[in-house]
Amino acid sequence: MSAQTAGPETLGHLSDEPPQQPQDSTKAKSITGKSPMRIAMGRLARDKIALVCAFVVVIFVLVAVFAGAICSIFNVSTDTVLPSQYLDTLGGGLPLPEYGPPNGGFTIDHPFGIAPQSATDNLAYWVYGARTSLEISFTATLFASVFGIFLGLIAGFVGGVVDKSISFLVDLFLTIPFLLAGLVIAPIINQNFNASDNYPRIQFWALIVVLAGFGWMGVARLIRGEVLSLREREFVQAARVIGMPARRILLKELLPNLAAPIVVSISLMLPTFVAAEAGFAYLGIGVTSGISWGQTINKATPFFESYPLYLWEPVIGIVALVLALNLLGDAIRDALDPKTRR
């Protein structure tokens, strides 16, 4: 017998054994009377990883929302300072020992230490970095999902030419690498708006547009597929027969049934955008005039040996947030999926 080439998943189908029956049919009977959402919430509540991740995410959100308050509690700020009084000029621009690591102990004035070369406060930059990160990823997710859901609903429900053209649009956008788009758009924004006083804000919104503009296709495809299968179901047919307007069918009949895939795609879109924002900032595009974890990482890499803490702070921030969001997203997907059994 030759070696098996197929992976374990396909083995089941290739073998002669009958496919395994979903085993939660009996269980489903015992919890009849609960809505699918309630079942899902119940499952989530029993999932320890999901709870821990949700807790981490909430912490980050609180940090972002109360960034100003946190900074004033610790009496730190993101203000630029004149660095020469804080730094060892001949010691590679590292902070003097009395201002904290790496050469001195932690101080209460600057709990996370201060940055080499510029002597800004690390805690304040970290906290406001979290705000930038979450602000951008939440806003981009909101736009991308609203846009994606809208187009997906229309394409699936109307069909015909509309479906064809929207599908073409989806395919077209999928062919453009968003990193490339970001790299192209950054100088254009700079060229046109660099003299404007609102330049940092314009950069911020441009980044959101890039992220959302190249992030909606997945949702649109997913929703379209779901709508295609739902619109032939009896309850939709019935609604049509009794003369419900299309808008009402879409919003009242179809959308509630799409809650699960939407929640899943949103929860997986968030961490992607957090990572993408940091990646853009690291490449020197995106919010160059603001405060961002990615930018701090970019500045900190040369110091990975002499002042590792400076690099670890934003890295840990990004890793913890992205990991928590991802695991939470996975848990939500598992909880909402009627076919999984835990």
Binding site: G91, S118, Q191, A195, G284, P302
Partner: protein, 586 residues
């Protein structure tokens, strides 16, 4: 000669950066300060120097030398006529492209000595320096074995008149100012077929006629633009810049602009024809646009490959470690460079405001934020002419060295009739470099405390491209620019006119005073021995009377040499590693 390195631009300019700690010069109290800024040694002349060059003590032949150039894109074209950057000229003049004269490093004193190259001496001027004759040696050869002729040297010189074909070449400043026909004859490509009487050949003698007194022709002769170029079609630009014909000890094996240049031994070069160059290593590999952090790691690791490598820059974050671990292999080289802020003379008309800017600029903080080592790679500057230049005056525009002094700045602003925050400075900074952005923030903070309002416009292009383009939309809104300038030879002639003459390309302050212009054209006509002092006096006059450009820093560079590179040293004339005398220890 301008520094092409974007980081230097950033540091010098965008950050507009650099200059002065609090009057105390370097931080004398710091125990780690065993290195401080050093001024360049003076350049001397030796017209009698004969080929071959004296052997470097202990030098052995063979091996490959790798040169890392962090953040430095290197030259786009290797055409000798086009070369006017520290990086390109330092490599080509040392290794591939000979000219009338050249520099040789004195191993004992570290001084650079001007010695003959293709000419047999340093040239013979007539009484009033309006005609220079160089006798070309008859034994030098091209890489294909054909002899270098006087006609080819004359052709090279004629090409340098063509400012339209070589807009970034040094001929735009010197050939087009001093050679006969300056301003009328536009060069052999632009004015095709037109006769030019500026250069004539008689046997091995090349005679250059000047439009006005030009006593510095021997120095100008050390530029590769004053060297031979193959006649006729073989040297048609821009193709020639990609495939130059070498006549130095090395020839080009491959050249990929902004990436890599590989030079191998040129077997047609004879040491008996060259009074200063050597041919020890088999191969030179120049790697442009390297990542500073990566190069620092390579150089500090001292592994087999890095032992035969060198880097022409060191990240300030590794300065402390390199200083303790590398010893003599960390070479601190002064170069005759000054960084300036250039307040627009037509917009900021009150000298008190310019002085206020000089007090409002946070020198030390800017150096730190932009990755310099204050007191080592940057020190406060007081004059346009850098230290080591003959005739430099130690004057202070405001009686003392400018330091960051917000109170003084506000006082001066008040005198000029501005309340704090009322006077607005508009400038650009180089956005793609995080250090430039950090520096700009510090500058804004510092100047705000000193009573200015600063608007920084982020640009993604080299700031020079903005400042030097009179039609640029952004440029028109600026009232402060900058420039980083290095001397082309040790004379005020290469510092003052290119920066403050009316209409000069790098006169980013748009300074224009007729009396100063007149004086600048008068000084070269004076007796030779007075000129240095006259330039120094003029420097002081410009500074104290008009103060059009604010010197922020004199600079030093740090080079890192691998442990098996022999004779680690710098060339103080051009401000680069001394490639001529390097060898690999066997």
């Amino acid at each position: 000669m301008r520094r092409t390195k974007p980081l230097a631009v950033v540091a010098g300019a965008a950050l507009f950066a650099l200059a002065a700690c609090g009057g105390s010069g370097s931080d004398g109290g710091n125990p780690k300060a065993d290195r401080t800024y050093t001024g360049a040694a003076e350049v001397t002349k030796d017209p009698e120097r004969q080929a071959p060059a004296a052997d470097v003590e202990g030098a052995t032949a063979g091996g490959t030398i790798t040169v890392y150039l962090p953040g430095d894109p290197g030259p786009d074209s290797m055409d000798p006529t086009d070369g006017w950057s520290v990086t390109g000229n330092s490599i080509q003049q040392a290794l591939t492209s000979r000219s009338l004269t050249q520099y040789s490093r004195d191993p004992k004193t570290g001084e650079m000595v001007l010695v003959p190259d293709l000419a047999t001496d340093l040239g013979t001027p007539n009484d009033d320096f309006t005609e220079w004759t160089f006798t070309i040696r008859d034994d030098a050869k091209w890489e294909d074995g054909s002899p270098v002729t006087a006609d080819e040297v004359a052709w090279g010189i004629q090409r340098s008149m063509d400012s339209d074909t070589f807009p970034a070449g040094p001929g735009t400043e010197y050939s087009q100012s001093y050679f006969s026909g300056a301003g009328e004859y536009k060069g052999p490509y632009t004015d095709k077929g037109k006769k030019w009487d500026g250069v004539s050949v008689d046997g091995q003698d090349v005679t250059i006629k000047m439009a006005k007194t030009f006593p510095d022709m021997d120095y100008w002769g050390a530029f590769m633009a004053m060297g031979p170029v193959p006649l006729g079609k073989a040297s048609t630009p821009p193709d020639y810049g990609k495939h130059i014909m070498s006549n130095g000890p090395y020839k080009v094996e491959s050249f990929r602009p902004q990436e890599e240049l590989v030079l191998v031994k040129n077997d047609q070069w004879d040491p008996n024809t060259d009074p200063a160059r050597h041919q020890y290593a088999d191969k030179f590999i120049f790697k442009f646009n390297q990542d500073q952090a990566k190069v620092d790691q390579i150089m500090l690791s001292d592994n087999t490959e890095s032992q035969t490598s060198l880097s022409n820059a060191l990240g300030s974050n590794n300065y402390d470690r390199a200083n303790t671990e590398l010893g003599d292999r960390l070479v601190q080289q002064s170069s005759q460079c000054t960084s300036f802020l250039s307040p627009d003379y037509t917009k900021i008309t009150d000298i008190n405001v310019r002085k206020a800017i000089a007090y409002a600029y946070p020198y030390q903080d800017m150096w730190l934020a932009t990755g310099e080592v204050p007191g080592v790679t940057r020190v406060p500057a007081n004059s346009i002419m850098p230290p080591g230049m003959a005739g430099k005056h130690d004057y202070f525009v405001d009686g003392e060295q400018f330091t960051y002094n917000p109170e003084k700045s506000k006082e001066l602003l008040k005198e000029a009739g501005y309340e704090p925050g009322e006077f607005k400075i508009t400038m650009v900074y180089y956005e793609p470099d995080p250090l430039a952005v950090a520096g700009q923030k510090v500058l804004v903070k510092g100047m705000q405390e000193a009573g200015f309002t600063v608007k920084g416009i982020p640009v993604q292009d080299s700031p020079y491209n903005i400042w030097l383009d009179p039609d640029n939309k952004v440029n028109k809104t600026l009232n402060m620019r900058g420039v980083n300038w290095c001397s082309d030879w040790p004379s005020g002639l290469t510092m003052l006119p290119p920066l403050v003459r009316t209409g000069a390309a790098y006169n980013t302050a748009q300074f224009s005073e007729k009396s100063i212009d007149d004086k600048m054209s008068e000084i070269p006509t004076m007796p030779l021995e007075q000129q240095a002092d006259e330039w120094g006096a003029l420097d002081e006059e410009i500074g104290t009377k008009y103060f059009p450009i604010i010197p922020t820093a004199f600079r030093n560079d740090l080079y890192v040499f691998g442990s098996k590179i022999g004779n680690p040293a710098g060339d103080g004339q051009i401000g680069a590693p001394d490639y001529k005398d390097l060898y690999v220890m066997q």
